[in-house]
């Protein structure tokens, strides 16, 4: 590249209480490029971004912006010097209007009062001109989909004369069309000369949109590559530092016909929840892995929640095991041997103030009841055991779970449920926001469970993953089950065809 980098980070070191998070990382960002920052969980991506945006100070090294050395002490200073960030979780106020969200903290004023007209006009202009979206900016943000909210967050970041835009996992909660929309906006911004730093776990997206890739591993720089010169396999093995072939080997799975005579572990009989899922029939047999495929909002999560009684059915019913008892609370579902890992790890999974140990034993303790405590010694044994078994990276079992990385939090939640020895494990997006290595570990775990005679209901937006682990796949569209695919019928093509309801050529997923 002949141009001058707009942003340069040199020799960045960062330690947390003696643990090296970054050691001597260099990073360059040129204007008008989309640069992907890749690495496993805990490789130091977030730390690097947080150093860049002033959330953390750096121990060593320096940052150049436009060839000038800058000291960023706070996120506000970063913003003022032209570095804007959109974080993974949308942190906007959903009860305020779109315009308010964009201008919050820097509202156009007239005589000390907010000039609402001007604000709405400018918000509308900003969204239309720079991002090609036309929405009513006076509506509260919660009236719009997560995708639009994400775009509003970007618009907010653009509003401050940004030169560098950092997108941290912007696509993790978007479906395929929404991702497309986001990418077209990113390309437009790129053409405007903005430098975009893009963090994601989706490899395909990296290849679709980025120009260059920087890879981190264990806090060190592995290298900077041009995207077109780096094959996908090479990228993955650089990220994890292992040969990919080694990872790819998953235990083989059974064909679906083997389960036909097995007892039924769970069954939905015309289970309905108004406005959420249309009457659905689904049978899960012992030892079987059933995948749920469909677009975001097609009713995958909703179906899973019915099986766990996280939401109650309005009509029809859910039968767990051989009992005829009405399942009307998660507690009862757990007692009947069901476990549920929510896709929303932060809001519905982890107990963030508690330790890893407590997070692991809580579900087992809950069904035992308060008067039968598990002894402290036993708890420690269990926790240490699962930390080893699932290779959870934590300083100790007494570490607070909120200090763990996303992938390790997910493993703790898996441990919580494995401990209850479930007959049916419902996994809703268990690999979202998780690096390739941990992903394969979780997939392997699913297949191992199936071998042990446990059943799994597996949900993922990555079709490839669903195909890999499932014996049978139920395809959902518009809150209805369209079709069940098994064995030889199961292919990415077949699923997409079913989702699209006909010709797949029209949609390019």
């Amino acid at each position: 590249m002949d141009k001058q980098p707009i942003l340069e980070m040199c020799g960045i070191h960062k330690q947390f209480r003696g643990v090296k998070a970054l050691s001597g990382v260099d990073f360059r960002l040129y204007p008008g490029e989309i640069h992907a920052l890749m690495g496993e969980n805990g490789a130091g991506k977030s730390t690097l971004i947080k150093v860049l945006t002033g959330v953390y100070g750096n121990d060593e090294g320096y940052v150049l912006l436009n060839n000038k050395k800058i000291q960023i002490k706070s996120p506000l200073e970063a913003q003022e010097s032209g570095i804007s960030t959109v974080y993974q979780e949308v942190n906007l106020c959903t009860n305020l209007t779109v315009a308010e969200n964009i201008f919050i903290g820097r509202e156009p004023k007239r005589w000390g009062r907010i000039n609402w007209k001007e604000m709405n006009k400018r918000a509308d202009q900003l969204l239309q001109e720079r991002m090609n979206i036309k929405i009513d900016v006076t509506l509260p943000l919660h009236a719009f989909s997560v995708a639009i909210q994400q775009l509003v967050a970007i618009a907010r970041a653009l509003n401050v004369s940004a030169k560098v835009l950092i997108l941290d996992e912007p696509t993790s909660s978007l479906d395929a069309t929404e991702v497309k929309q986001l990418f077209s906006i990113m390309r437009k911004l790129q053409a405007d000369g903005l430098a975009i730093l893009f963090v994601t776990h989706f490899l395909d997206q990296v290849y679709e949109v980025s120009n260059r890739i920087t890879i981190l591993r264990n806090g060190s720089l592995i290298g900077e590559f041009k995207t077109e010169q780096l094959p996908k396999l090479e990228l993955v093995s650089q990220m994890i530092g292992k040969d990919l072939n080694q990872l790819e080997q998953l235990p083989s799975k059974f064909s679906s016909s083997q389960f036909i005579n097995n007892e039924i572990v769970a069954e939905a009989k015309q289970a309905t929840r108004h406005g959420v899922i249309e009457p659905i029939d689904l049978v899960i047999r012992k030892g079987e892995v059933v995948g749920l495929a469909g677009l975001l909002g097609s009713g995958r999560t909703e179906t899973a929640r019915l099986f766990f009684a996280a939401d109650e059915v309005d009509s029809g019913k859910i039968v767990l095991g051989s009992s005829n008892e009405k399942i009307d609370s998660p507690r009862k579902a757990i007692k009947h041997g069901t476990a549920f890992c929510s896709e929303n790890r932060k809001a519905e999974g982890i107990l963030d103030d508690l330790t890893v140990r407590e997070n692991i034993i809580v579900a087992l303790q809950a069904i035992r009841g308060w008067h039968k405590p598990i002894s402290r010694k036993k708890q420690e044994e269990i926790a240490d055991n699962y930390i080893k078994l699932l290779a959870i990276k934590t300083s100790s079992a007494e570490q607070l779970i909120k200090n763990l990385s996303g992938g390790n939090q997910q493993k703790v939640l898996l441990a919580r449920w494995l401990l209850t020895n479930p007959q049916l494990l419902i996994l809703d997006e268990p690999t979202r926001g998780i690096d390739v290595g941990a992903k394969t570990e979780i997939q392997r775990l699913v297949l191992d469970l199936s071998k042990e005679g446990k059943s799994v209901l597996f949900i993922s937006s990555e079709l490839e993953e669903v195909l890999r682990v499932s014996n049978r796949i139920a395809v959902l569209r518009d809150r209805k089950k369209i079709k069940e695919l098994r064995d030889y019928d199961m292919s990415e093509h077949a699923i997409m065809k079913t989702i699209a309801g006909g010709d797949t050529d029209e949609i390019n997923l």
Binding site: F308, A310, P330, R331, I334, K335, F340, S342, A347, E348, G349, I350, L351, D352, D353, L354, E358, V362, A363, Q365, A366, I367, R368, G369, W370, H371, K372, P373, I374, R416
Partner: protein
């Protein structure tokens, strides 16, 4: 050393010791304890004795706050419980009869449990925000207490009733034993059973707790009932101590002192982790402070201002971010550059 410094009881304990030390320097006989009629007298005993109701209320408050809740009605429950038991005793033919006193106390405690249940139902079942739900009983409770006492101060003339509030056991005030008993039960209840874990997990994330199979509703009901019961026992101590019930003033502002004690003790108002021993230290700090203010003879019209200042300082010392700012200031301090003295030019 670092372990001691990091321990969650370090700051509350340090502050309490500092307060006691101040008292000792100010009046060296602060720590003196004398025996009279087989009963111990002294400032320390007074602090424990007069602080007993606050400690009780704070224990209950800790559990409620741990579930991300708050109970503003404890002061009113103190008044109601005292009023009901005094009313029953005062109407009995033989006020000294043990059975009358026990019935009166039992009835008052049952009512307190009922009031706690009411708060719990509003929060857990009706889904009202705790601060509003308990505000209802805070306001209405004063009315109920006055209704019971018919707007008068009910006095009782019963040695048996005065036992828990004024008498001594093993030369220590009975109230101290009451607090110790409640504290031990609370500790066993929360730490030896899994209840503490459930309370903390509900306070930390109610939805995740529900999905983990914890019956959040029951946990929340239970902590409000405990809180009501603790306030009820405190009400008995208060009314027994003065052998009368005052619907208007008994337990006035206890809720605020109790919340303060909980926070000083290290439990966050955001719920989650809770520290019963910390709360006890917090309550003792508040009581010591009150005693100190009376003892050093601060004019009554400014006692509240002085108390507020000390509380502010206590809270600042406890705040980790404040300490960090202070330390940073200290490390990067610079002295004004010495001015060069211009030479005299002759």
């Amino acid at each position: 050393m670092k372990l001691i410094y990091k321990h969650h009881l370090f700051w509350p304990a340090a502050i309490l010791i500092a307060l006691l030390l101040f008292n000792f320097i100010y009046s060296p006989d602060f720590f003196s304890i004398v025996v009279r009629n087989g009963k111990l007298y002294g400032s320390l005993i007074d602090i424990l004795n007069f602080g007993a109701p606050l400690m009780l209320v704070s224990i209950g408050m800790t559990l409620v706050i741990a579930t991300k809740g708050i109970d503003l009605s404890v002061g009113s429950v103190v008044a109601i419980s005292g009023a009901l038991s005094c009313l029953i005793v005062s109407q009995a033919e033989n006020q000294n009869s043990i059975s009358v006193v026990l019935t009166a106390m039992g009835a008052a405690l049952l009512l307190s449990i009922g009031l706690g249940l009411w708060n719990g139902l509003l929060v857990a079942k009706a889904g009202i925000q705790p601060i509003i739900a308990t505000l209802i009983l805070m306001v209405a409770g004063r009315g109920i207490a006055q209704l019971i006492t018919s707007g008068q101060i009910i006095t009782v003339n019963s040695d048996a009733y005065a036992f828990i509030g004024t008498k001594a056991l093993l030369s220590l005030p009975v109230s101290i034993f009451v607090v110790a008993l409640v504290l031990i039960i609370a500790l066993i209840f929360t730490r030896k059973s899994a209840m503490g874990l459930f309370i903390e997990s509900v306070g930390s994330n109610p939805e995740a707790s529900r999905l983990a199979g914890i019956r959040s509703t029951i946990v929340i009901l239970l902590v409000y009932i405990c809180c009501g019961l603790c306030a009820g026992i405190a009400g008995l101590l208060v009314s027994s101590n003065v052998s009368s019930a005052d619907g208007n003033n008994a337990g006035l502002w206890y809720e605020l002192d109790a919340i303060l004690a909980v926070v000083i003790g290290g439990t966050s108002l955001n719920g989650g982790r809770f520290y019963l021993m910390g709360t006890i230290l917090g309550a003792l700090i508040i009581q010591t402070l009150t005693t100190t203010i009376y003892m050093i003879g601060i004019p009554p019209e400014i006692t509240l201002v002085v108390k507020a200042c000390v509380v502010l300082i206590v809270c600042l010392i406890q705040s980790e971010s404040f300490r960090r700012v202070l330390i940073q200031r200290w490390r990067t301090r610079h002295y004004p550059a010495e001015r060069e003295v211009p030479k005299h030019v002759n």
